[in-house]
Symmetry: C3
Subunit: 299 residues, 3 copies
C-alpha cells in the first residue's frame, strides 16, 4: 500500500498533538528558548535537561531526544555522552544535529563519537552533512554554503553506514534513509534569517519520531509541517505590513500552533523517490512505496 | 484594618516602579532572556549574576533574589549555594522555584539543600510543590499534571515547616503562608504555551518582595499583576488577528509595561481566606484580615 | 578630504551587507539569541563560539570578535583568554563590552586582563567606562547611572592608554579615539527597556569593524545604523497601536533588516569634533577631518 506523504504527515501532526511527546533537548544557547517555544507551539512538551547526572536519567523516560552541538560546553558534552546510550537502551529515538562540524575541533570529535550511537536521524545543512560524511570542507560553520543536492551522496553514505535517516536543510529539504529520498520544497527564506530556523527543526523531528514507527516518515512529516508553517507565517495573513525576520519569528509560532492537517495537505510540495540497487532514482507516489525497491538495496 | 487585596496589589505595583528593585536571577537557560525582559517591562532592573565568586557578593546588594532550578549547571549550583546565605545575611528576600523537582536527582537534592535556607517564597506548579513537600510523584517535570487545589495541603505543609510563603501556579493560582490563602483566578491559557510563563513570575515575585514588608501580600500582588497583564495581552486589543503563543509573548511585555493600577483593580479576581486552628477555611475580605485567626494558628 | 559621517556610515552598511562578516560572539546568556538575530538582520553571520578548544581557533578565521562579560562562566572566561590573542595574531578586530565591571570581582579582574590585549573598541555605558578607567563607583551593574558626557574624560583616557576606540552608550552615544569625538543623538528610550539594547550593539560594532579600516568610523557607523533602526522601530510605521518593549524588539529586527542607506543619511544626527592638544574641542564636519589636529595630540 502506498501512503501519500502529505496526508501521512498531516496524520502524524495530529498524533503528535494527541500524545504531547516529551522532548529532551541538549541544544545550543542561541536557540534554547526558541526551540522550547517551537515545541510548545507544536503541541509537544520541551525539557532542556542537559546537565551531568540528569541527562541520562531523563533520556530513559523522554519520548525523544535532540543532541545539537551548536555551543557544546563541557557539561553538555558529558550530558550528551550520558543521554545517548540511555536513549538507545530505552528505545528513545534521537536526533543528532552536528552544527558547524568539520570546522571546529571539539564538536567534530564529539559528533564522530556520538555517531557510533547510531542516531535515529541526523539533521544538518549541506556543509555539515558533507563534513560529517568526510566530504567537503565544512563551510564557515553556521551557514549552508553547499547546495542541498550536492550533499545527497554524503547523506546516502551516512544513512547506509549508520542506519540513520539523514535530513539536509536547504531551499529544498532532502530526507533519505538510503532507499527513499524525500524532497520538500516548502519553506521561506526568512527561516534562514532567524536563529533556530534549522536547530528547532531538530527538536520538532524528535517529537515526530515519537509519533511514528518509521523514522523516515517522521522526519519527512517534521520537515513538511515546519516549512508549511513558515510559509504561512511569511505570507502576512493579517496584512499588517511587510514581514521582516523580527516579526516573522512570533508569527511562525502562531502559524505552527494554529496549523491544521488540511493546511499541511493543501500546501505540501513533497516528492518521494526510491533508489534502486544501481543508484538510479525512480519516482514513486507514496512514502512507503519503496518497500520493493528497498529489498534490492538491502540485499 | 482590612486591606482589599486588589487595591493593595495595585499600590505595590506603583511602589515597584518607583523603587526599580534590582533583582538577581539564577535561572534556567530557557527563560533567561524572557525573565530579564519581563523584569524590565515591570519596571525592575534584572541582573543575571549566576557565577561562582560573584553570586554571593551580589546577593548582598540586590533587592531580591530568584533561584530557579530549571537547568542547574554545576556553576549555577555553586552560585546558588553562595547566594542564599548571603541573601539571608543581608535580609534580601528570595524566591525558590524548584522546577521539575522530584523527577530529576541533581536538582531535587539541591532543592532540599536550599530549603534549609528558608526561602521567602517557594513558587512552583502543583506537581513541584507536592514533590517538594514529599507528596505525589512529581509529574513529568515541566508541566503541571496535578490540579492546583490538590497541592493546597502540600503548600500549607511547606509554609508551616519552612516559614515560607508558597505560591502554586495553575488555572487558579494559590498563594498561602499557612494562615492565609489567596486564590487568583486571572490569567490566560496562553501563559502555559510560552516558555517563562511560570519562571518569569518567580522573578516578578522577587521584585514585589522588595516592595512589600508582607511576603504574602507581595506574592499575591506579583501573581495578580502578572496574570492580569496576561489577560490583557491575550485579549487582542489592537484587533489585528487571532493571538497565538508567538505574538502573545511580545504583547504580554507591552501589557505589563503599560499596565495601570486601575486595570489591576478593575480586572482582579482574587479572594483571600483564612485557615483557623482546626483547618476550616473562613472567607475574609482583606489581605491582612487574618491577623486574629493567625494568632490561633501560630499559638 | 572630509567625509560626511552619515554618508560614510551608510556606505559601510552596504559594505557589511556585501561582505556578510562572520562575527564570533563570546557573550552573555541573556542576550545570546537577540545578538545572533540582530547580526542576521544586519546581514552579518553570527557564530557563538565560546568554548575552550574552539574559541581560539575560530577567532583566527572570524571577521570580528565580541567579548561581552555579562555572565562570564568559567568556560567562557577561558574562551575569551583563548580568543583575544588569537584575534590579535590574525588581525581580527575585537570589541570588549565590560558589562557591570567595577561592581563584581570576577569580571572586573578579567576585564583588566583582557584590556592588555588592546581591544579595537571598548563599548559600555558611562558607569562601566568610568569603572574601567578607574573613575566612579561603577553604578549598580547593569543600568547607566552616569550621564554619557561625564564619562567623556574616562573614555579619552582609556582610548589614549590602550589605543582603543571607546564607545559610550547613553541618551546621546559618544564615540572617541582620543583625537575625534562623535556624538550620535539617534535612538529611542525603548532600547533601554529590552535586553540586548546595548549588548547587541557590541556585536554590530564588531561586524562594522570588519568592513572599515578606521575603527572609529566603524564604531560610529555601527552606532548610527543601530540607533536609526531603533527610531524607525519605535515610530510605529504600521500604525497598529502603541509600541511597548515587547513589540519593539521584533520591529527593531525588521527595521534593521529593511534599513536603507538613504534612511541612515536622512535620519542621522551625528556630530564629529576634534580635541586639540590643550583638550579644547573644535567642531568639524567630517569623520576624518581630524587628521591635522591628531598630529598635535599624538606628537
Amino acid at each position: 500500500m502506498s501512503i501519500d506523504p502529505a496526508r501521512h504527515s498531516a496524520e502524524l501532526l495530529n498524533l503528535v498533538r494527541e500524545a504531547t511527546p516529551l522532548v529532551q533537548c541538549i541544544t545550543n544557547k542561541v536557540v534554547t528558548n526558541v526551540t522550547a517555544n517551537t515545541l510548545l507551539a507544536l503541541g509537544a512538551a520541551p525539557a532542556m535537561v542537559d546537565i551531568r547526572g540528569e541527562a541520562g536519567v531523563f533520556a530513559g523516560i523522554a519520548s525523544g531526544l535532540l543532541v545539537n552541538l551548536g555551543t557544546p560546553t563541557e557539561e553538555q558534552r558529558d550530558a550528551a555522552r550520558e543521554a545517548v546510550p540511555s536513549a538507545n537502551a530505552a528505545g528513545t529515538p534521537w536526533v543528532l544535529d552536528p552544527v558547524a562540524v568539520g570546522v571546529l575541533p571539539v564538536r567534530t570529535a564529539l559528533a564522530h563519537e556520538l555517531l557510533a550511537g547510531r542516531p535515529t536521524v541526523i539533521r544538518g545543512n549541506a556543509s555539515e552533512i558533507m563534513a560529517l560524511a568526510g566530504a567537503g570542507a565544512g563551510g564557515r560553520g553556521v551557514d549552508a554554503s553547499d547546495a542541498t543536492d550536492s550533499a545527497a551522496d554524503a547523506a546516502a553514505h551516512l544513512a547506509a553506514t549508520h542506519g540513520s535517516v539523514v535530513a539536509v536543510s536547504g531551499p529544498v529539504d532532502l530526507i533519505t534513509d538510503g532507499r527513499r529520498i524525500a524532497r520538500v520544497a516548502n519553506g521561506d527564506p526568512l527561516l534562514t534569517l532567524v536563529t533556530g530556523g534549522g536547530c528547532a527543526l531538530g527538536a520538532v523531528t524528535a517529537a515526530f519520531l515519537a509519533a511514528s514507527d518509521d523514522p523516515f516518515a517522521g522526519a519527512v512529516a517534521a520537515t513538511l509541517v515546519y516549512t508549511v508553517a513558515a510559509e504561512i507565517a511569511a505570507a502576512d495573513p493579517g496584512g499588517v505590513g511587510t514581514v521582516g525576520p523580527g516579526t516573522f519569528a512570533p508569527r511562525f509560532l502562531d502559524a505552527l500552533a494554529q496549523l491544521t492537517a488540511e493546511q499541511v495537505v493543501e500546501r505540501a510540495r513533497v516528492r518521494v523517490t526510491t533508489v534502486d540497487a544501481s543508484g538510479v532514482a525512480g519516482e514513486v507516489t507514496g512514502i512507503d512505496a519503496a518497500d520493493a525497491a528497498a529489498a534490492l538495496v538491502r540485499s
